[in-house]
């Protein structure tokens, strides 16, 4: 059983997804416990996988008993296992959270929503666990197709946003596929470990350069890195609340993982750092992304749209760590994959809860929200502090590592960008907190009314995930030293 865990992570949600409609036709209300069960099993398997990796080292699982490079191999090392645990916990949390918001936003489509939701999770798990380039493409498309469908059922304008995402996403995936084709042309292999062995002799070849470029541009499109981000703001803003909460933290993090894999496992780090100036270019693009996201977020009056731009800036952080390409920078990126997944899932769940109770997301309408939803807003403050980077919360530690990484390579401008973006984030979040907490003085407009606010907290299925992720953010911050020393330092490629 334990040796089957890597494949069960993917197979369980896939099979459960196909059974979901059948269960839904029989008893509609059983769908929700059914997907919770499925994702709990997956989470359990991913935790087992992580423990196995810590105890016994890298796991190689050969599907159907076919040996690599002929068969498809699932290779799980520290990096995979760590990201798997993050993704499975996040999707489980969002699944628990989704109940009420789906009942409100998609009352007639709950069965199909849950089916596609599980397929989406399957796609994410598959991308992470696989050790085969083409298999990764297939899972990337499973995740994207599920994402297109989930986004399209959102509010006004969602189908158009989703259509744009289809076009951009297909271009990204096709570029990735072309890159894989060029790699196959020169090496005759699709297995990542085999490619890593075969490629160093061919680094001079133009075909390999073209392949690398296509792969990176394709992944960057899926990840919505700054100049290729056009599809993201509309798509994630207009999607249903629980879909934004699932996609916004995970799609970008999973793509960041794929980027690390391609740059430092499939290609040797010295290729990505020295033979092509990719890392330098990426770190400057990332700096632009961080500033662009933060500045655009300042201009928004809609809380969800503001968070979408904050997400763009967080994508910049992830890529910046990859671009710095040193020990501290990569530690920062891998830690940030975890921290940012927690922060983004918490923020988008909080927005969903506010929309559920108040029906709007305009920041200026948030007066007295701390009386109406005290726990949700308290959670918002803690998560906001984490995004800004205040010490006991986890957001501080990954930023700290990123800044250390920038200082190590004497990239003072990049370190400055990181500090500046923290300040911009502080403005962003304190603006919201000000509207929600501080009541207007003088009381000439609604002084008497403010006392009459009814306490109307979000339903428990929403509140429990929000509170637990928020507690997790503080806890992970306190434990981040342990996490770095037991997992992340082994997840970084050996040569750093």
């Amino acid at each position: 059983m334990i040796e089957q865990a890597p494949v069960l992570i993917v197979v369980i949600p896939l099979i459960f997804a196909f059974i979901t409609p059948l269960i839904g036709w029989w008893r509609k209300e059983l769908c929700y416990p059914w997907i919770i069960l499925s994702l709990t099993l997956s989470t359990f398997c991913s935790v087992i996988t992580l423990l196995t990796v810590i105890n016994t080292g890298v796991i190689h699982y050969h599907l159907g008993g076919w040996l690599p490079p002929w068969g498809i191999e699932y290779a799980v090392d520290y990096l995979n296992a760590f990201v798997l645990v993050i993704v499975s916990f996040t999707s489980l949390t969002v699944a628990v959270y989704s109940k009420k918001s789906v009942e409100l936003e998609l009352p007639e489509k709950t069965i199909y929503f849950y089916t596609v939701f599980l397929l989406q999770a399957t796609g994410f798990f598959g991308i992470i666990v696989t050790g085969d380039m083409f298999n990764l493409y297939v899972f990337l498309e499973i995740a994207s197709l599920a994402g297109y469908a989930l986004i399209a059922v959102g509010e006004e304008g969602a189908p158009m946003a989703s259509f744009r995402y289809v076009i951009m996403g297909t271009i990204g995936a096709s570029f990735y596929l072309l890159g894989v084709g060029y790699l196959y042309m020169t090496t005759g292999s699709l297995n990542m470990a085999d490619l890593a062995r075969l490629l160093p002799d061919l680094y001079g070849s133009k075909v390999v350069l073209v392949a690398f470029t296509f792969l990176i541009v394709g992944v960057a499109t899926k990840m919505a890195l700054f100049p290729l981000h056009g599809w993201l703001p509309d798509a994630y803003e207009k999607a249903p609340s629980s879909v934004s909460a699932l996609l916004a933290p995970l799609m970008t993090k999973v793509s960041a993982y794929v980027m690390i894999r391609i740059m430092f496992t499939v290609f040797k780090p010295y290729f990505s750092i020295e033979m092509l100036p990719v890392t330098t270019i990426l770190s400057w693009i990332a700096a632009a992304a961080i500033l662009y996201g933060a500045v655009m977020a300042l201009a928004q009056t809609d809380l969800k749209r503001m968070l979408v731009y904050v997400l763009l800036s967080e994508v910049g952080y992830l890529v910046l760590g990859i671009g710095l390409a040193n020990k501290n920078g990569l530690t920062g990126t891998i830690l940030h994959i975890m921290n940012d997944a927690c922060m983004m899932v918490a923020l988008f769940m909080i927005v969903g809860a506010i929309v559920y109770r108040c029906g709007n997301r305009e920041i200026s309408q948030f007066r007295n929200l701390h009386r109406r939803m005290p726990f949700t807003m308290a959670a918002f403050v803690i998560v906001g502090l984490s995004v800004v980077g205040i010490p006991p919360t986890c957001g501080f530690f990954s930023k700290w590592y990123l800044i250390l990484g920038a200082v190590d390579t004497s990239q003072w401008v990049l370190a400055g960008v990181l500090v500046l973006s923290s300040l911009l984030n502080a403005i962003l979040f304190f603006r919201v907190i000000e509207y929600a907490y501080i009541e207007p003085r003088g009381g000439h407009d609604n002084g008497g009314e403010s006392l009459a606010v009814v306490r109307e907290e979000a339903p428990l299925t929403m509140l429990i995930p929000i509170i637990s992720v928020t507690a997790g953010i503080v806890l992970l911050g306190l434990l981040s030293g342990r996490i770095v020393s037991t997992v992340i330092q082994f997840a970084i490629p050996a040569c750093f």
Binding site: F134, Y137, V138, E141, L145, Y148, A149, A152, E156, G157, P159, M160, S162, F163, V166, I167, T170, I171, S174, L177, L178, G181, Y184, M185
Partner: protein
Amino acid sequence: MVDFIVGKYNYWIYIVLMMIGFYAMIGKKNLIKKIIGMNIFQTAIILFYVSIGCKKGATLPILGHAHGHAGQAIQTSAYINPLPHVLMLTAIVVMVATLGVALAIGIMIYLKYNTLEEDEILKAVK
């Protein structure tokens, strides 16, 4: 130069087709034209993959003497490489699924806005 173009004509066709598809996806305003462009773009990639599996003068990879003659040496240059073609079977499935999702979203848009022109839809959204 002529040899470079004529000798590898299938790759040139793949590039031309891909650019046509790319142009339609980016430049056209009509959503159905965009979807058609997307399909051309993906089909060009199929042509690319099929091309890399081909060898001059080779035949289908069905080994007539495999059973009972397992010891017999197989000349790999006599058979085309089947693997890229098999990959494309999977890719075709993915492409059909993408096309299906794109058309379904197109139907949603048409039912909502009664048009498939991008600029008219954007006007209606705002």
